[in-house]
């Protein structure tokens, strides 16, 4: 095996570069080294000016999403040896404005997230002294998968709708809405309905399924969206037949 591999890294410094330029670095090619280890090697030994986000380096904090050879990846969970002999092209996530080098601006997601009310909504909050809201393992299974989202933005980077229609709520936000809609402790499905059923919500999705394909945590946002489309369609039909107050308590 070669002892080194080339990283071709997209550089962009606002005010200096008018557009991103690629810069090549030779880094050690070692077993167990993630793309992220290659980048920190660059930062520590070759070029202190390279900027990228990272923190947990164990695939759970969601900081280090990048585009690696054209695919959105967590750079801490993608390994150099899998790309040998290289070169490996490392770019910022697509579909986001670039702040600097590999750092993208995710403010749009952070602004959209509260719109889907990703928290427990209940008419009456029981005092904690009365103990837990009971929830069987089967009831947990209903939403467990959608609760695994680490907000890494890989799904937005892969989503062809988001690239064309920036108003689209996007896969992770909708999956999180469904995570609460499907939680037996929650009664907020009605409050989330307007935003989810709006043109920027589920109906914008053309079900390409790229979001689920790139999700590093198996969340399946595409499945969440499809399931909600079915719920929303059923709901509209029901509402023609009966008043909203009677049909609104159904989950999902």
């Amino acid at each position: 095996m070669a002892t080194e591999i080339t990283l071709e890294v997209a550089r962009y410094r606002p005010g200096v570069d008018s557009e991103p330029v690629m810069q090549s670095y030779q880094v050690p090619l070692r077993e167990h080294w993630a793309i992220l280890d290659g980048l920190t090697y660059v930062k520590d030994h070759l070029d202190g000016t390279l900027s990228f986000r990272w923190s947990c380096r164990m695939g759970i904090c969601g900081s280090c999403g990048m585009t690696v050879n054209g695919e959105p990846q967590l750079s801490c969970a993608t390994f150099l040896t899998d790309y040998a002999p290289g070169p490996i092209r490392v770019e910022p996530l697509h579909n986001f404005p670039v702040i600097r080098d590999l750092v993208v601006d995710i403010d749009d997601f952070m602004t959209k997230l509260p719109k889907v009310k990703p928290w427990i909504v209940r008419e009456v909050q029981s005092p904690v002294e009365e103990g837990e809201y009971l929830q069987t393992p089967e009831e947990m299974d209903e939403y467990q998968q959608f609760s695994m989202c680490i907000n890494c933005m890989l799904c937005y980077s892969a989503c062809p709708v988001y690239s064309l229609e920036p108003h689209f709520l996007g896969p992770a936000a909708i999956a999180l809405a469904q995570r609460y809609n499907l939680d037996s402790r929650d009664e907020g499905a009605d409050e989330r309905r307007d935003v989810l059923s709006s043109p920027e919500g589920i109906w914008a999705c053309t079900f390409v399924g790229e979001c689920s394909a790139v999700c590093p945590k198996g969340v399946d946002p595409a499945g969440a969206i499809q399931r909600y489309k079915l719920t929303a369609a059923t709901q509209s039909i029901k509402e023609l037949l009966m008043p909203r107050s009677l049909s609104s308590r159904r989950k999902g």
């Binding site: 202190g48 000016t49 427990i120 695994m148 999180l176």
Partner: protein, 580 residues
């Protein structure tokens, strides 16, 4: 530029978000802000795996949780703090449940609990083995429902502003733009977590650079019990990624190279096929990590390119249990070690995991500096003493995050003052300093990473699982030299846009302060207790050292260590007994 709030929380992890919500609930009229160097859901709480302890089962009692915590701490905790902690922990975990935390359940829908190290009863609540992740995201998403909580995401705090013994806010840099701001407040709550990155091999995320400890220390608040550094017995070699204690609680075994459950040789009980509480693999972390060192000395570990390892055996648990209770362990082993724990042994070694010490606070989270509060790993109340029990840290973030938030809210309202002009002048000075540092150009400069790497090696060699007077003296000299070199460290990046090199330089300055506090506190504690093991003073010495160390910064920048008595309410110092 100046911004103003009533309460400013520094750090957006478990303790910080809990504190912010507590402020908002205590007094909705208060303007509260959370300043964090990462988006809150990236905070290191996200990496906690195994669980959160709180009495829940009918056969368990608060006294038993308290006793386990006190004996686990080698009697260095404050027992009034522990009593408050165990009493409030169940309520906090239930509150998280009401906020949507997906705690694992029993078939009847009630909360499930699992065993954990050093605990005599099953009382650890868990969300599979991603407890910290679920806890953090539940808190973050719940905090979004409080629209009045202002967030400064990706802002880095460089200084606490103090006038006449009272904190009045901070100065921070916005990473995206390089803009510096003086952010004033009538109370500041530090929730910045620990400092594992001071050491070379750690479970801690890149962001755990002891910022809050150093900020408080520079502002004049003392740091307590800094010599107590927890090594978790099971980290993956090379990466240092944590393999949760829950793996042993569910029945995993630790084997040496001969396939022998070596813990039986270290007064931790006799091996049984099923896990037994406070026995063998369910002993406390300090004792297990120390046993590893002795196995190395006996030549019974396996050498790897990343140091000696022992083996964690989960094979007998079977795929079904592992997938249900330890799915993240399987994912991490597969991804980072190319190993499937269902069929293969997992190589592990002790890894720096947690700081028992931190900013000295009382039971309300208040530091000796008026208006400055701290909670979570950055703080030392102390419930952890000389050794923290696994699964006590998440509830600590919640219980004391809540307490600090409530106390700070009351303080900010009751002692509301106009911010003195001297504070604004200090803020301007700090903003000018930061602008100068950004332009920092030094001829033939030292690389930040080189100094950092040498500091980490110094800490491992000088203040590892076992220390002695010589190793600590040597470390103190090396740190002094590294400090000089740090003065000559330059940066290549002079951009105002997301300048991570400037941040790394500021973090290194903080880490050097924290490292010095650890070494100086360890050098003066001439006894062995919990995680602080001195080969030249192998016994516990209650006569001289049943006391907290308090390290203060002197005007000349050097540290001075003093002592504070331990609070004992109901459990007089005794022998730590495990496995018998």
């Amino acid at each position: 530029m100046t911004n103003s709030h009533d309460v400013v929380v520094v750090g957006g992890g478990g303790a910080g978000l809990r504190a912010a919500i507590a402020v908002a609930e205590t007094n909705p009229a208060l303007r509260v802000a959370v300043i964090s160097k990462v988006y809150p859901m990236r905070s290191h709480t996200v990496s906690a795996e195994g669980g959160a302890a709180a009495v829940a089962a009918p056969d368990d009692t608060l006294d038993e949780h308290a006793y386990d915590t006190v004996s686990g701490s080698d009697w260095l905790c404050d027992q009034d703090a522990v009593e408050a902690f165990v009493a409030e922990a169940p309520r906090e975990l239930l509150r998280l449940e009401h906020w949507g935390c997906p705690w694992s359940r029993q078939p009847d829908g009630k909360i499930a609990v699992r065993a954990f190290g050093g605990m005599k009863k099953k009382r650890t609540w868990f969300a599979a083995d991603r407890t910290g992740f679920h806890l953090l995201h539940t808190l973050f998403q719940t905090a979004l429902s409080y629209s009045d909580i202002v967030r400064y995401d990706e802002w880095y705090v460089t200084k606490i502003l103090v006038d006449d013994g009272r904190a009045y806010g901070v100065v921070a840099i916005e990473l995206a733009t390089g803009r510096t701001e003086t952010i004033t407040a009538n109370a500041v709550i530090l929730c910045t977590g620990g400092c594992g990155r001071v050491f070379p091999f750690t479970t801690n995320a890149n962001i755990k650079t002891g910022d809050g400890m150093a900020l408080a220390y520079r502002a004049g608040a003392p740091l307590k019990d800094m010599e107590f550094v927890q090594y978790h017995p099971t980290g993956l070699p090379f990466t240092g990624i944590l393999i949760t204690e829950a793996a042993r609680a569910e029945g995993g075994w630790l084997l040496n190279k001969e396939g022998y459950r070596y813990l039986q040789d270290y007064d931790l009980g006799t091996p049984t096929p099923e896990p037994v509480l406070r026995n063998m693999e369910l002993g406390p972390r300090d004792r297990l990590s120390q046993a590893f060192v002795h196995e190395v000395e006996k030549g019974r570990t396996i050498d790897t390119p990343y140091g000696p390892v022992v083996l964690l055996d989960l094979r007998h648990l079977g795929a079904k249990l592992i997938d249900a209770k330890l799915p993240f362990v399987r994912e991490l082993c597969s991804k980072y070690q190319n190993i499937d724990p269902v069929t293969e042994l997992v190589p592990v070694r002790p890894v720096v995991h947690y700081m028992m010490g931190g900013v000295h606070t009382d039971l309300r989270g208040a530091t000796p500096l008026d208006g400055l509060y701290a909670a979570g790993e950055v703080a030392c109340v102390s419930i952890n003493g000389a050794n923290r029990l696994g699964s006590n840290s998440l509830p600590e973030c919640l219980v004391f995050g809540n307490r600090a938030g409530r106390a700070a809210a009351v303080f900010a309202a009751r002692y509301h003052r106009e911010v003195p002009s001297s504070i604004l002048a200090q803020g301007r000075d700090e903003e000018r300093r930061l602008a100068a540092e950004l332009g920092r150009r030094v001829e033939g400069h030292q690389r930040i990473a080189d100094i950092r790497t040498e500091m980490q090696a110094t800490m491992e060699n000088g203040a590892g699982i076992y220390r002695d007077g010589d190793s600590l003296t040597k470390a103190a000299h090396e740190l002094a030299e590294l400090r000089l070199r740090f003065q000559h460290a330059g940066i290549d990046d002079h951009s105002t846009s997301f300048n991570t090199e400037l941040i790394a330089w500021l973090e290194l300055g903080f880490m050097l302060d924290v490292a010095e506090c650890i070494i100086d506190s360890a050098a003066l504690r001439e006894e062995s207790r919990g995680a602080h093991q001195r080969t030249d003073f192998p016994a516990r010495d209650d006569e001289r050292f049943l006391a907290h160390s308090l390290v203060r910064r002197q005007p000349d920048g050097t540290s001075r260590v003093g002592y504070l008595p331990v609070t004992i309410t109901r459990w007089p110092p005794g022998e730590r007994v495990y496995g018998r």
